[in-house]
Structures are given as C-alpha cells and as structure tokens.
C-alpha cells in the first residue's frame, strides 16, 4: 500500500550549515491493512520521511507510491485516499468541533447528504458527541486530539499517516487514543504508518521500523525484533566506576556488556540463564553493585540495542498547548 523505494533526501546547504543527508537510500513498504510504527532517535529522518509521505516535501531522489499512485507525479490522487494526523494540531481552535468537522468535510468534497452520517460515524468512538458546539480551544488535550482523529477518519482514508499523535497526552488519554485507533484500523482495514517515540505504543502493531541517521536499521514485527536480543537480560547498576566493572565483567564472563546510561546490560541471555548469572555476578562483585535485576526485553531495549544509544530525549518533545 505504501512503497518507498531508495528514497534519499538531502537538505540544501545554508549559510551556516553544510548540506545534510536526512534520508539515505531508504526502502520500506507497508502492506495493505498493516499497522506500522516508525521510530528512531531525534534527527533520524522520521520527520523528513513524514513530510515527504504526506506530500509537503519532494525528496532528492527515489520513488514513493501510495495506493498504487506515484506520490510525486499524481499527488492529487494520493491526497484523496490519505488521512494525516500531525503532531501539531491541524484543527482551528477558534472554531467549534462541529465547524471544524464541516470545514474538513468541505475540503474533502463531502456533500451535505453524506456529511451527517459520516460525521456521526467518525464521532461514534469518541467522547465528543455532546461537545460539538464547544470551541476546540476549550477542550482538554485528549479531547482535542480526538477531534483531530475524528476529523481525519470522517473522510474514510485508506491510508492513515500519524506523526507522534500522542505527544503531550497523559497516559490515560494516550491509551484511549491508541485503543480507538487500533480498533478502527482493524475494522476498516486501514493501512497505518505512525511515527512514535513511545515504545509501549508499538508492542501490538504489525511492524516496527527503526531509523537512525536516515538509514533503516531494522524493520520487522515486534516479536521478531525482540528475538534480536535474548529473551532475558541481566541489568546491573554499578556502584562507583562503571567502566571498570564493565571491563571486568566482560573479561571474566566472556559476554557482551552494553552500557546504557548508568546501567550495564548483559543482553545475550536465554531463558533460565538469567538467575544463575545474577547469582554468580552478585557473589563475585557484590561491593561494586548498587542493584541487579533480570528483565524481559521490551521494544525499548531492542531500540537501545539496535541504535546503540540511549533512548531519545523525551524532554525535547514539543509540549502541546492545553
């Protein structure tokens, strides 16, 4: 449904900066009805890719087809089957919910006849039914996001692109939003590509792509990705000199030890091996260890493993207004 072929994008040089390669020969496809998540640290090229996919930027080279249409030659056909949820709100907060929906329907050529049916359909899952006459600026962050999603779903897109749609939401609103999204995606067989930093969001999707510096490092199902690292890992928080402890663990156990923030991780551990290892480490290095634990790897750990660096800064997220 979405086919990206050898996509390269280089930002032109400016006075202060040399040209910057944001995407380097990226090839990726999302099959019809699949839910894919695109993740990567800040500056990995996610946003560039997103801007290209929704038709706001043209790449340096490469091809993208969405729903069988060439995105660069026939953008008008692609726009018709595409729904886009941006990170910053694309609703007019000075207008009411109803006015926003009506305007969006006009943009997509939905006639008066179909409008009320499609609108009710798009609102069915939401908590907006009795807030139609409220201005969007008076709604909470979670509800404002619902307007965003309802608006986009109203046009019945076959392909839905979302750019960090849950940024700025509290955990409960985030779960509601994703729950609704996943349910609708399955019901309608929509193809969904969503960028996200939050790995708990990715556990139940079909495919996860990990990008770094414009390169695709991994693209697979969450299960397959987790299998990249062992099924268990031992996590040691050292007391004192972490490098020294890491070196001595490496030397004496002959295992790969990965530094992650103030933690040392022994990732290549299979089921059942964790506990004996924990005991033997504790016995030998007790005085250098603050805490030690066994952990089931999740996608965040895969991300750390694959990108070889700590989880991207959460603090750099742009906070959404209330």
């Amino acid at each position: 449904m979405i086919q990206i072929q050898s996509l390269t994008h280089t930002y032109p040089a400016s006075r202060k900066q040399a040209p910057r390669v944001a995407l380097a020969d990226l090839t990726l496809s999302v099959a019809e009805g699949e839910f894919a998540i695109l993740s990567g640290p800040n500056g990995s090229g996610k946003s560039t890719l997103f801007r290209i996919l929704c038709g706001l930027a043209l790449p340096s080279s490469g091809k993208v087809s969405i729903g069988g249409f060439d995105l660069f030659a026939q953008p008008q056909h692609v726009r018709r089957i595409l729904g886009v949820v941006f990170q910053s709100p694309a609703v007019d907060k000075h207008l009411t919910v109803a006015e926003n929906l009506r305007l969006h329907a006009d943009l997509y050529g939905i006639g008066r006849g179909d409008f009320s049916r499609l609108r009710d359909d798009a609102l069915a899952w939401s908590d907006l039914a009795d807030r139609l006459e409220q201005k969007v600026e008076t709604l909470s962050g979670g509800l404002a996001r619902q307007v965003e999603l309802a608006k986009v779903l109203m046009t019945r897109p076959r392909v839905l692109l979302l750019d960090e749609p849950t940024t700025g939401l509290d955990p409960a609103s985030r779960r509601n939003f994703l729950g609704a999204l996943q349910k609708l995606q399955r019901e309608r067989g929509m193809t969904v590509l969503m960028t996200s930093h939050v790995f708990s969001e990715a556990e139940e999707v079909d495919r996860v792509a990990i990008l770094r510096e414009g390169n695709l490092l991994a693209y697979d199902s969450p299960q397959a990705l987790k299998a990249l690292i062992g099924t268990e890992m031992v996590v040691v928080r050292p007391q004192g000199d972490a490098e020294a402890l890491a070196a001595s663990l490496r030397a004496e156990l002959g295992l790969a030890v990965r530094r992650h923030g103030d933690e040392l991780r022994l990732e290549e551990t299979e089921n059942g091996e964790g506990l004996p290892m924990l005991e033997s480490i504790l016995e030998r290095w007790r005085d250098q260890i603050r805490s030690i634990s066994i952990k089931q790897p999740d996608l965040e750990d895969v991300f750390v493993h694959v990108t070889g660096r700590a989880e991207p800064e959460r603090a750099s997220h742009k906070e959404l207004g209330q």
Partner: protein, 257 residues
C-alpha cells in the same frame, strides 16, 4: 474549487467576526486617520487646483483604499498564524486545488474588507457625494478588485514568512509606500516628475482612480473613458497576476538537493 474556497473564506470571516478587537481596530483606525488628517490638513494646506474640494473629501477615497489595504493585509497575517498553529498543513494535504487555498484566503480577506469599507461608504452623503446605480456597481467592483489585489500581494509576501513581526516590517516598507504614492494623500498633479512616474506605474494609484471616479462621474459614461478603462485594466491585471503568482508559490513543495 469554488466550494472549497468559499468554505475556507467562511472560516476567515467567522474568525474575524469572533474577534471584536479586530473589528473595532479595522474600522476605527482609518476613521481616525480620516478625521484627524482631514481636519488638520484641510485648514493648513490648500493645494492648487483643489479649491472647490475640501481635504476631507479629497482624502475620502484614499482612506477607503487604506481600509482595503489594512483589511487585506491583516487577513494575510493569518497565513503565518495558520502555519504556526498547524492548521495550514491540514489544508495542504487535503485533495484541494492549490488555487482554492489561495482563493479561500483572498475571498475571506475581501469579504472582511468589504464589510469595513461599505460601512465607511455610509459617510459619502455627508460630504455631498452621490452615487447612481451604475456608479455604485462600479464602486463595488473597484473595492473587490482592489481588495483581491492587496490580498493576493499580501498572500505572496506572507507565504514564505515564519514570523508576523517580519511581515509587519515588510508591510511598512513595501505596502505602505504603495498607498502613500497612490494619490491618496496628495494629487498626482502636484508631485515632482520622478514621483509622478512612480505613481503612474503603481497599481494602487489606478485602484484609487477607479474608486474615486464613480463619485464624480456618471457610471455608464465612465465605461467610455479611456483613463478609467486603463486604470480598470491595470487593477484587473494586478489582481490576476498576484493570484497566479500566489498559486504557483503554494504549489511549490520544498525540495531536497
């Protein structure tokens, strides 16, 4: 395309009507300009050849053009706000023609400008100015074309801008002079030679001509005057060109190298 443009224009107007400060500012500011400058200048300066026209009356159509300028330009500032707030990206990814995006803004701006300037037109009888039916139609046409011209130009300038402060600066050094050199404040006949030339090629000068003319001539007779038709043609060309240029600007997607 028109349906989409009208839906977008309706949004502009709704937003305008919901901000009373904007309504008040847009009407009060030119009105004060007119009253204070008109009253002050009228008694101090007496231009040659304008003995029978009070400065109030001379300045009146000029204030109309200023209203159209400000209303259209302020409406275009919302392009920068729309981009900032995120609304614009939602419109850009929608399956709408790029011209509809331009027209939505421009029509919205024109509707806002018309409300203001028509309110101001109510003052005409107090100056002893009268309009026939045909004259009223031509005046309205002049308002609409001028407003489209200003809004199209404003659109073109605002599209690539990231800050409203920058837009204000551009407005002051680029758009205000167009108005100052339009004959709104002083007649072209008294201007020095070089300025006379600049004024003749200034589309706003011609806009002022087609707005001033219906007050002083029979509407139908105007359509037979070469001077009027020339000014009309210049304003139409200005409006069309700025719309086309804006559309091309919107169609351009940012490029990689």
């Amino acid at each position: 395309m028109m349906g989409v443009a009208l839906a977008l224009a309706k949004r502009e107007f709704t937003r305008f009507a919901r901000q009373p400060q904007r309504v008040i500012g847009a009407v009060a500011q030119p009105l004060m300009f007119w009253l204070f400058l008109g009253a002050g200048m009228g008694t101090s300066f007496r231009p040659a050849g304008l003995a029978q026209v009070s400065y109030f009356e001379y300045f009146y159509p000029g204030v109309m053009v200023m209203m159209l300028l400000f209303a259209s330009i302020f409406a275009c500032i919302t392009i920068i706000e729309d981009r900032d707030a995120g609304f614009l990206q939602g419109v850009l990814v929608a399956p709408v023609s790029r011209m509809a995006i331009v027209l939505g803004k421009v029509f919205g701006a024109t509707a806002i400008a018309l409300v203001q300037v028509l309110l101001f037109t109510v003052a005409a009888p107090f100056l002893g100015l009268t309009l026939g039916g045909a004259g009223a139609v031509l005046l309205l046409l002049g308002f609409i074309l001028t407003s489209i011209g200003f809004a199209g130009l404003g659109f073109l300038l605002a599209w690539g801008m990231r800050s409203t402060a920058g837009f204000h600066a551009i407005m002051m050094v680029f758009l205000m002079p167009l108005w100052m050199l339009s004959g709104a404040l002083f007649p072209i006949s008294g201007a020095p030679g070089w300025m006379n030339v600049v004024m003749q090629i200034n589309p706003v000068f011609h806009a002022l001509e087609i707005i001033r003319a219906p007050f002083y001539g029979d509407g139908l007779a105007l359509l037979g005057q070469r001077g009027y038709l020339l000014s009309l043609a210049v304003v139409v060309a200005w409006a069309v060109l700025s719309l086309l240029a804006s559309m091309m600007r919107v169609s351009k997607r940012e490029l990689g190298v």
